[in-house]
Each structure stands twice: as C-alpha cells, then as structure tokens.
Symmetry: C2
Subunit: 208 residues, 2 copies
Amino acid sequence: MISPGLIIEGDDKSVAEKAQSILEISSSLFFENDYNSVGIRAIAHAAGVRGASIYHYFSSKEEILFLIVKEVTSDFIDSSPLVYDEESDFRKVLRMLVSKHIFYFWEHRIALAIGYREMHNLTLEHKKIVQGYRLEYQHSVQRFVSDGVVAGAFQCKDPNLTGVALLDLINGVNDWFRPNGRLSIEQIADQYCDLSQQMLGAQNANDK
Amino acid sequence: MISPGLIIEGDDKSVAEKAQSILEISSSLFFENDYNSVGIRAIAHAAGVRGASIYHYFSSKEEILFLIVKEVTSDFIDSSPLVYDEESDFRKVLRMLVSKHIFYFWEHRIALAIGYREMHNLTLEHKKIVQGYRLEYQHSVQRFVSDGVVAGAFQCKDPNLTGVALLDLINGVNDWFRPNGRLSIEQIADQYCDLSQQMLGAQNANDK
DNA sequence: GTCTATAGGGGGATAGAC
DNA sequence: GTCTATCCCCCTATAGAC
C-alpha cells in the first residue's frame, strides 16, 4: 500500500526548497535595506506570492531573520573546526585560520552583515543562541593563541586580548573589500596572514 | 535702538540647545533600537513634546540621523589631526594615533555605532558626505604608514593595505569592550599600541 | 498552499489654531 | 514654539474561503 507519506514527501521537499528560497530572497532585501524597512509584503512580492503565504513557511518575520543569522553562524563553526595538537606548526594553523575566516566571511557576507547589524531585532532567546555560537568561536581562537604561546610559536603579553585583536583584524575586511579593487580576496587573505603572524610575534618563522 | 535681533539671540540659543538635546535623545533611541523602528512620536515623547514640534527644529527624521552621524565623524577628523614630519618618531606617532582613535571611538560609541549601522538610511547625498570624511581619515592613515616605511620606521609589503588593516584592528574594540571587564579602555589601548607596532614591523623600537 | 480581506496598530509629515 | 487633528500610507499577523 502506498502511504500518503511517500506522496507527501515530494511536497515536503519542495516546501523546504521554497522556504530556503524565501530565506535567500529575504537576505538580499534585508541586506540592501533594513530588517525594519522591509515588509512582509515586499518579501512576498519578491517571492511571487502574497503576504499571507509567507506565514505558511515561517511563524513570524523575526523567525526569518533568526534562521538567516543562525544558519550562517553555526555553519561557520561547523565548517571551520580548529584542530591542532602540540606537534602542529602553529604558524601554518594560524594561516589556515585567518584564510578560512576571510574566505568564509566574504562568501557569506550578506547573511553575516545582517547578523551583526540586525542583532537587536532578534528575540532575547534567539540573540542568546547566536551570541553563544560567536563566543564559542572566539574562545577557540583565544585558546589557540594561548596554546601557541605555550608552544613557543607566538609571543603575546595577553593571549586572550590578542585573540580578540586577531578577530578584530580579520573581521574588518568585509567592510571595505570590493571585488573589482586592486587586490583579490586571495591576495588580501595572504597579506592578512602575514600581518597576523607579525602581530602574534611569529614573524620569524622560516616556513610560511 | 535695541534691535529685535538682540532679543531673538537669547531665543536662538535655547533653540540650538533644544535641537542639540533632541539629537542626543534621538541618538540613544536609535542606538538601542533601529532608526526605522524609532518613530518621530517616540523621539518627541522622550523630549517632552508632541511629534509635530520636532519639525520646528529639523526638516525630517533623516536630517536628525544625518546630523548625528555627520557631527561625530567630522569632529573626529578635526580633533585628531595627524601631524608629523620626517624628523618625527613614527613609533610614538603611531601610538598616539591608535590611542586617540580608541579613546574617541569609545567615548562616542553611540553616535559612531549608529553611523556605521544606519548608513543606508541616509540620502545618497548625505551618505557621500559621511563617506568622504571617512575616506579622508583612511587616506591620512595610509599616508602615515607609507611615510613610516620610507623613513625606515615600519616594514610593510603593502602600506596601503596595512593602513586599512590597522584601522580594522582598532575599529573592532567597540564591538566587544565592556567597561566592567578585566581590562580598562586605557589598558586595551596600550596593548593595541603594542600590537599595532608589531603588525607594522616596528616591534624593535627601543622606546615606546 | 495560496488567496482575499481585514484587524489593529503604527509610520512621516503637514495645516493651521493658539 | 507648541499644539491638535489629520492625510495617506505601511506594518505584522490572522481568519477563513478555495
């Protein structure tokens, strides 16, 4: 007997796809304008439906914002595990960390910009979840710097502060980088790797 | 003969004061929420008047936003002239630059955060004015780094890129600094001076 | 799943009295 | 300089038909 479940499965999939496409449409609109100046009607119009239909996929406009921000934030952590041990070449791991960060951030600049800019439009609970992801990543970077100091690869007075300084440095790229500029994102990432090494007191590495 | 002008002068002054206080009230509200979710009526209520009265002082809500952002941006440039010559100690000038930047940015964090976050709510013309100020400052920092390299004080592959990297680094502080944290803003500024020196390849200075 | 219609509440800005 | 009243528009979200 063919269960209705099997038939519905096809529908479920296109529901999920449609939901995903609404999230992408919303991202573009939120990025170009504001969360608060993009109405449900504008999202619906861009998606080719009426306002009420949006609520078939999402329970509220805030949920749309949350899903955009949560996805890009948790995906980053999942895709960038910072694995190393005391045998690792900390200078190489640093370069990996910096490059991956800059590439991911540029690739997902739209959702990430929304995440930072529209933080206070999330409910308290949702905000805590996103901040939790960010702190988790920050702590792993700080731990890495600290471990690198212990291993003798870096020289820092205050590894925890240097960790956030490193993040400050590489987070800034999206604010000014433009693809048609003098340098490519790869060239910038490479230079920022060098700058990071110097900042962490690892400038005398004999290998990159 | 007592001109009406003299009498009006007193009134003008309190008009200017009231306008200024409306700008400060608006800053707080825009900072805590969004430009687009703070209504004229909310601003007026916080200022102790009705919505229509706001239009006695400003021609539009956008003008309020522009004045907040323009003031804090142009004041920064005016208050932080980057003066040096080939005789200067570039390491010391760098420390001055970094400290002043961090202190000013923290002191004026509310208006500055609004400036970066609400940029796209400005009219095109107003946006250009603000971006002009920012670029002016960025170029002066890049020129400084470049001059420091020529003078032999810094070692950078790409002074223009290193200039924006320096700004990325010190711009980040406001995003995470909290006054009740482990370090004071003075301690952080001091450490960021050290980190900047290392990043610019000036770490071997015998004086700070 | 999508629609129309609507509830219930704001928004920015202006006119014109006082 | 401040007010009330108002214009016309948009908002999020829901009810209920199809």
